[in-house]
């Protein structure tokens, strides 16, 4: 989230699209309803009527996977009707940038496409630059090659009639949506978006979000109270664990994983440190070398940053098609991994194409699963269609301490780093995950020191002691408090920085003090400022506020928020060049003549001296985004499995760059699988249910696998409400109890009724008895080309009465 949960109350129009906030982030809705009581509108756009729809001012159904058509139509509408916030768009976004002559778009493909590799040469999309390397601009927005004119032309194709014909949204509903939402393009109005996996889990996931980010930039809705682009994240620390880079492509703080060929730290830094010659561009990533050196020094304190860099593994590239989840599971299925550590996760149910995933686990020599409860992953070897006698995988189930049994911090969707204190003792024989990592590392270090082996230094030199404190028995053990200090960072020697003297061992006060020369550690530069010499700020429970902060519900002394306790990102865009807020009644920051008041500003420079989007090289919000794998502008494509042969926007049916596994069949207009399938969550279960399916209160409320279908589809298939049915796709089948409901309606696509089948994905065969199995048995191994996230939300299935012999 650019903003945070309490801030929803400041909005004038809340668009909920790709999310069922009332059921999946229930407490968030408290703040949405607060805005509504003040007069704000809530609009819910979703394939299914939910409790979110019930409390919204308007519910607009769309066929799953057609979001870019609807959003492209909104861009067309807001340009045609001049609903944009002109000054904001011209001054703060790249609307005026001139795009180079190599850019082109034809038949659904951008220039630079290579049909052999299904990828783009992104250099074809570059901006024209002057002799200093600064992009050329036309502030009048008239140049036919400026971003604004390119946008205008691109989205003029997204007429309400075409959008309606493919999405199933009526023209009337489209007009209601467009008119209501774009009314927030006024300086004193705020519109916000709440989205979740309903947007990310598509083969066009990133472009769904980009389309909305573009709308927000054109309407001047970023950086302001009640605005922003707000991802409702699904796990209590999926934000923090992403910040801490448990992903192939990043290191903590969104640094890049090193690639082959980057043989020195200098080469690595040079590749990822952007340079700008515009004195008004803060170009914050210019500090990259300080953050990389401090991370390496946190990991390898006894080595120089250069030596430590040599211990880091390197990838061949950053392609999602090679290293992300879907290709990883495929590689496991092909028998190319001998072992796997599966920590606090249940991929036997959560991975797309669960049957394949379960088979893949059987190709391993060994597997460690750490969880609170046994699950379909730990017990995969005795699951459906498995013969333990034929499965070699040596398997460990390691139970772990629960959240309330240990201390440490988690970061919520609004980037608040909040400390948890230890309540009860760890249950039974179990310990915390931190203890497990440390003790396995100790064993390995001893083994490598004794026996040698492949390149032992990265393991034997790892400064795990930085994360440990001595216990009562004189043994070093994992300490969350010590690790929190390391993640912030400390000085490794006495130094003077910016005229301030620091002693060895002192905490670094903020990332502005991090150094390239190894004199600072920081396990994650974004968290630098969280643990100072005086306090761990994530522990703070102080609700005090200034008058300005109280006015927009900011709690700067309650816990801590990255970066540097800034609660609303890009807040320099909430004021004009004199530092005066666009919306004085809901000011986020304000220049009082000598200093900023309100939130922590995005950089302390005087107003008007820096472009506000400080993380971008040029300092502008990106309407045109030449960095994405599938094009600089969102373009409509059908899901990889879909019910139509053509769509009205181009001859290119699918995202040509989507991640997919060669040779795996997909159902496109396949009469065997005529219905759109989708998956979602319910309030009473969580993810695969590996924790909630063991809880009596929750199982009583949601006891077994069900499938929601419309009365029309039920009639078509002769299915009664409450009856057992079979749902099947190209990949597999499962049973579910039919829930026939008017919450789902057929979509009118080009004059034809298209039906949807909706399933929760919380179930699995381990527990409860007769609970059913995972919806992911039928989901496909295709994903977004930028992120690799699977298309869990739109695929093709059949549904029929259950019969003897079915699963």
């Amino acid at each position: 989230m650019t903003n945070h949960w309490n801030d929803l109350q400041n909005s004038d129009c809340i668009l909920i699209m790709g999310s069922n906030a009332a059921e999946n982030h229930p407490i968030s809705f408290k703040w949405a309803v607060k805005a509504q009581k003040r007069g704000a509108k809530i609009i819910h756009v979703d394939p299914r009527f939910t409790r979110t729809s019930a409390r919204s001012d308007a519910y607009i159904p769309l066929r799953s996977g057609t979001d870019i058509a609807v959003l492209g139509g909104m861009i067309n509408y807001l340009i045609k009707n001049k609903r944009y916030f002109h000054k904001y768009m011209v001054d703060y976004t790249n609307a005026s940038f001139i795009v180079g002559k190599d850019f082109d778009f034809k038949d659904g493909l951008f220039s630079g496409f290579d049909s052999k590799t299904n990828s783009y040469d992104k250099s074809k999309w570059a901006f024209e630059v002057d002799d200093k390397g600064i992009p050329k601009q036309d502030k009048s927005l008239q140049d036919p090659n400026c971003v604004f004119q390119i946008l205008k032309k691109h989205y003029a194709r997204y007429t309400p009639e075409k959008v309606s014909s493919i999405s199933g949204v009526s023209v009337k509903d489209l007009e209601l949506l467009y008119d209501t939402y774009t009314a927030t393009g006024k300086p004193n109005k705020a519109g916000t978006i709440m989205y979740a996996m309903g947007w990310t889990q598509h083969s066009v996931g990133v472009q769904n979000i980009r389309a909305m980010a573009m709308i927000q930039l054109m309407l001047g809705n970023i950086g302001i109270a009640g605005g922003g682009v707000n991802a409702l994240r699904g796990e209590c620390n999926v934000q923090g664990s992403t910040d801490y880079a448990l992903l192939y492509h990043i290191l903590p703080g969104y640094l890049k994983t090193p690639l082959a060929g980057q043989d020195s730290l200098e080469q690595y830094n040079n590749t990822y440190t952007p340079k700008s010659n515009d004195p008004e561009s803060a170009n914050w990533w210019q500090h990259y070398p300080k953050y990389s050196a401090s991370l390496i020094k946190a990991m390898y304190s006894e080595d120089t940053p250069e030596q430590g860099y040599q211990y880091l593994p390197r990838l061949d590239n950053h392609k999602a098609s090679q290293y992300s989840w879907i290709p990883l599971i495929d590689r496991m299925y092909e028998g190319k991994f001998s072992g796997s550590l599966i920590w606090g996760m249940n991929p036997a149910c959560s991975s797309s194409d669960s049957v394949k995933t379960r088979k893949a686990l059987g190709k391993l020599d060994w597997m460690v699963n750490v969880n609170l409860f046994q699950c379909e992953t730990s017990d995969f070897w005795k699951g459906p269609d498995m013969d333990p006698k034929k499965i070699k995988t040596e398997t460990f189930f390691i139970p772990c301490a629960s959240a309330i049994e240990k201390e440490g911090s988690v970061s919520n969707s609004g980037r608040w780093m909040q400390w948890r204190y230890k309540g009860p003792d760890a249950f039974g024989d179990v310990m915390t995950d931190g203890h497990y990592f440390h003790e396995i590392w100790e064993e390995l270090k001893a083994l490598y020191e004794k026996e040698g082996g492949a390149y032992p230094e990265p393991i034997t030199h790892l400064s795990f002691d930085n994360m440990c404190e001595e216990n009562d028995h004189g043994h070093m053990e994992f300490s969350a408090r010590k690790t929190a200090k390391l993640c912030n960072g400390w000085f490794t020697r006495d130094v003077e920085v910016k005229g301030k003297k620091f002693k060895k061992g002192q905490q670094v006060p903020s990332f502005a003090y991090l150094q390239t020369d190894g004199s600072t550690t920081s396990g994650n530069w974004l968290y630098c400022n969280s643990v100072t010499d005086d306090e761990n700020k994530s522990m703070r429970h102080d609700a005090s506020q200034t008058k300005e902060q109280a006015n927009i519900g900011l709690f700067p002394n309650w816990t801590w928020c990255w970066p540097v306790n800034r609660r609303i990102l890009y807040n320099r865009a909430s004021v004009d060049e004199k530092g005066q807020p666009w919306a004085p009644k809901k000011a986020v920051i304000k220049w009082n003549g000598s200093k900023w008041i309100g939130d922590v500003p995005d950089g302390g420079w005087k107003p008007g001296t820096r472009h506000p989007f400080i993380m971008r090289k040029n300092g502008f919000g990106q309407l045109y985004g030449p960095g994405r794998a599938d094009g600089p502008l969102p373009e409509y494509y059908e899901p990889l499995e879909c019910p139509v042969k053509t769509h009205p926007f181009s001859k290119t049916l699918h995202n040509p760059t989507a991640v997919q596994i060669k040779g795996e069949e997909k159902a496109v207009c396949d009469p065997r699988f005529p219905f759109v399938g989708t998956t979602y969550r319910v309030t009473e279960h969580w993810q695969t249910g590996s924790m909630t399916r063991w809880q009596d209160w929750l199982v009583e409320a949601e006891p077994q696998m069900f499938v929601e279908i419309s009365p029309e589809l039920a009639k078509l298939r002769g299915i009664e409400n409450g009856e057992k049915v079979t749902v099947e796709s190209v990949r597999g089948s499962l049973w579910a109890i039919a829930m026939v409901t008017e919450r789902i309606q057929p979509y009118n696509i080009n004059g034809t009724d298209v039906h949807m089948v909706g399933m929760p994905w919380h179930y699995g065969w381990v527990t409860p008895i007769n609970g059913g199995d995972s919806a992911n048995i039928v989901t496909p191994n295709v994903g977004d080309p930028n992120t690799g996230i699977p298309e869990y939300k739109a695929f093709m299935v059949n549904i029929r009465k259950w019969k003897e012999g079915d699963k």
């Binding site: 992903l247 192939y248 190319k336 060994w366 919520n412 039974g428 969350a480």
Partner: protein, 196 residues
């Protein structure tokens, strides 16, 4: 004899939130079909508990929790929403309200389980066995699959034979420990819940 009314109870718990460590929590309502509050109060047997704050372990709204732990058994006796917390203001959803069952649950395993190759059964093992064996297996897989250079002859120093999956369930500090441990092993196939 315990003589307590609702207002005193609220006072006590409020004081606890402000920093007093020990407050009574009431678990003795098993036979509580008495008619009046006074009669019910007489049946209460107070358990002296410590109150700590935590954050809900489900979605990422980050609702504040109050956890009461029995001072003798060190087990949680109650988990509820923290009324002082600015996001949830004491409220919780169905899952959050059921939080105690995640920790205090008769079906929760407290032992380490091991399944030998081709076996049909789990065996109980201790942590020492597990950590020793896991370290050996990691080392074997790492040594066998370690690539010093890629096909182009470029230095890569990576372990191709081990995949790490998870964990958004960890605290930030544990995530940092996991990242540094996995990268020290040379792993490049590191993925977690943010992807799916």
């Amino acid at each position: 004899m315990m003589n307590i009314n609702r207002r005193d109870f609220v006072k006590l718990t409020t004081a606890a939130a402000a920093g007093i460590a020990a407050v009574p929590a009431f678990g003795g309502l098993g036979q509580a079909f008495a008619n009046t509050a006074e009669e019910r109060a007489k049946q209460l047997s107070p358990k002296w508990t410590q109150q700590t704050t935590s954050v809900c372990a489900f979605c990422s709204v980050g609702c504040g929790l109050l956890v009461n732990t029995d001072l003798e058994t060190k087990r949680a006796v109650n988990v509820e929403g923290n009324p002082d917390h600015p996001i949830n203001e004491g409220a919780l959803c169905a899952k959050g309200a059921a939080s105690i069952q995640m920790t205090e649950n008769p079906k929760r395993p407290g032992k380490f389980l091991y399944r030998a190759p081709y076996s049909g059964e789990w065996e109980e093992k201790d942590w020492n066995f597990c950590k020793t064996r896991i370290a050996q297996l990691i080392k074997k897989s790492r040594d066998e699959s370690f690539e010093k250079k890629n096909a182009k002859g470029q230095v890569v120093n990576r372990t191709m034979g081990i995949a790490s999956l998870g964990s958004a369930a960890l605290d930030n500090e544990e995530c940092y420990a996991m990242h540094s441990f996995m990268r020290s092993l040379g792993l490049v196939y590191v993925e977690h819940q943010a992807r799916i």
